[in-house]
C-alpha cells in the first residue's frame, strides 16, 4: 500500500510561536520549543515527532508568517 511521507522546515527566526500550526497538525508532529526562544523572544515551533508527518501542509496553510515549508512524497 502506498504511504504518504512528509517533512516540514520551519524558519525559526521568523516564527512568532503563535501555536496555530501545532493545533492544525492532524498527526501531532509539531510543538513549540518549551524553553528555547528565537532572537525576537518567541518559543518557535519545531517538528517534535517528525516521523509522523504526512506532508498535508495544514500547518503551512494556517501559518500567519509563512515560515513553514512542507515537502511530501508518496512511497510504495
Amino acid at each position: 500500500m502506498a504511504k504518504v511521507i512528509g517533512t516540514v522546515e520551519i524558519n525559526s527566526a521568523k516564527c512568532k510561536g503563535c501555536n496555530l500550526c501545532v493545533v492544525a497538525c492532524p498527526t501531532e508532529v509539531l510543538a513549540l520549543r518549551p524553553k528555547e526562544v528565537n532572537d525576537r523572544g518567541y518559543h518557535f515551533a519545531y517538528a517534535a515527532k517528525p516521523d509522523q508527518c504526512i506532508g498535508c501542509a495544514s500547518c503551512a496553510l494556517v501559518c500567519p508568517d509563512a515560515c513553514i515549508e512542507v515537502y511530501r512524497a508518496v512511497v510504495k
Binding site: T7, K16, G55, A60, P64, V70, A73
Partner: protein, 258 residues
C-alpha cells in the same frame, strides 16, 4: 525524514513562503489573521500572473503597512478612503487590477460612504475586508462590527445596543447593491477555511481583472491581542460567537452563479 530524503523519494515541495510575499518580518501580533490573508493574497496575485498589473490600496489600521509585505505597486490611503483611491486608480488605469485591503473600522465606520458608493458604481476593484470586530491598531476599541456584549477598551462593560447600536453587517448591505458581482464571507481559522478563502480572493481578483464589477470578500478574523485571548482560543471564540452574527458562505455571485 529529511527534506533531501523526501525529494530523493520523488517528493516535492507542497508549501512555502509565496514568492511575492516580501522577505521581512510582518509587524502583526503572533497568530494574527492578517498574515494568513496576506499570504494567500500574494499567492493568488502570483498564480493569476498579476504581479505586473496589480495595484493594492492599503488602509489605515493594523494593515496600514500591508504595502511592506506584498511585492506589487501600492498606494496608502487615508483612513476609510481606500475605495475612492481605488476608484481613481482603476478608472485611470484600465490595464491594472486594483484591490483594496481594509479593516472593519476603515471600511465599515469612517469609510462607509466610500465603500457603499464604490460598490454601487460597480467599480472594477476587489475589496478584501478583514472583520475582527475591533480596532486593533489603536488598542482594541469598539468597531462597528463589535458584537453585542463584547468587551473592548471603549465598551469596557460590553457593547450595549441601546448606547452603541447594533453590529453592522456591511457585507449583507453591499450584497444588495447592483454594482457588486461577487460578495462572500470567509475565514482563515482552519486549513479548509484558508483554501476556501483563497479561492474567494482568486475569484475577486479575476473579476477585477476582467472588469466584472465590484467584488467584496469579507474575512471574519481574530484579533487575539485585542480580544485578550491566545490565537487558538481566539479562533474558537470566533467560531462560537462571530460566525453566528457573520455566517460564512457566498452571498452573491453573478459571474459564476451556482
Amino acid at each position: 525524514m529529511t527534506k533531501e530524503e523526501i525529494i530523493a523519494a520523488g517528493g516535492t515541495k507542497v508549501a512555502a513562503k509565496p514568492r511575492l510575499l516580501m522577505d521581512v518580518n510582518m509587524h502583526y501580533c503572533p497568530g494574527c489573521s492578517h498574515g494568513v490573508v496576506h499570504k494567500i493574497l500574494a499567492e493568488v496575485i502570483d498564480e493569476l500572473g498579476l504581479e505586473d498589473s496589480a495595484i493594492g490600496v492599503a488602509p489605515v489600521g493594523c494593515a496600514v503597512f500591508a504595502y511592506n509585505y506584498i511585492d506589487v505597486d501600492w498606494v496608502e490611503a487615508a483612513h476609510g478612503r481606500a475605495p475612492a483611491v481605488a476608484t481613481g486608480l482603476a478608472r485611470l488605469n484600465p490595464d491594472a487590477t486594483v484591490f483594496t485591503y481594509q479593516g472593519d473600522g476603515d471600511l465599515a465606520a469612517i469609510g462607509t460612504c466610500e465603500t457603499i458608493h464604490a460598490c454601487n458604481r460597480g467599480e472594477n476593484i476587489a475589496i478584501i475586508f478583514i472583520n475582527n470586530g475591533i480596532y486593533g491598531m489603536t488598542g482594541g476599541q469598539m468597531a462597528p462590527t463589535t458584537l453585542e456584549g463584547m468587551k473592548t477598551s471603549t465598551t469596557p462593560y460590553g457593547r450595549r445596543v441601546d448606547l452603541n447600536g447594533y453590529p453592522l453587517k456591511i457585507t449583507d448591505l453591499v450584497k444588495e447593491l447592483d454594482g457588486t458581482c461577487y460578495v462572500t464571507r470567509e475565514a482563515v481559522h482552519t486549513p479548509a477555511a484558508v483554501r476556501k478563502a483563497k479561492a474567494a480572493i482568486r475569484q475577486a481578483l479575476m473579476n477585477a481583472r476582467d472588469k466584472k464589477g465590484t467584488s467584496f470578500v469579507e474575512i471574519v478574523s481574530t484579533c487575539n491581542s485585542g480580544w485578550k485571548m491566545s490565537p487558538d482560543k481566539a479562533n474558537k471564540w470566533m467560531e462560537e460567537n462571530m460566525f453566528e452574527k457573520y455566517p460564512l458562505g457566498e452571498l452573491k455571485n453573478t459571474v459564476n452563479p451556482k
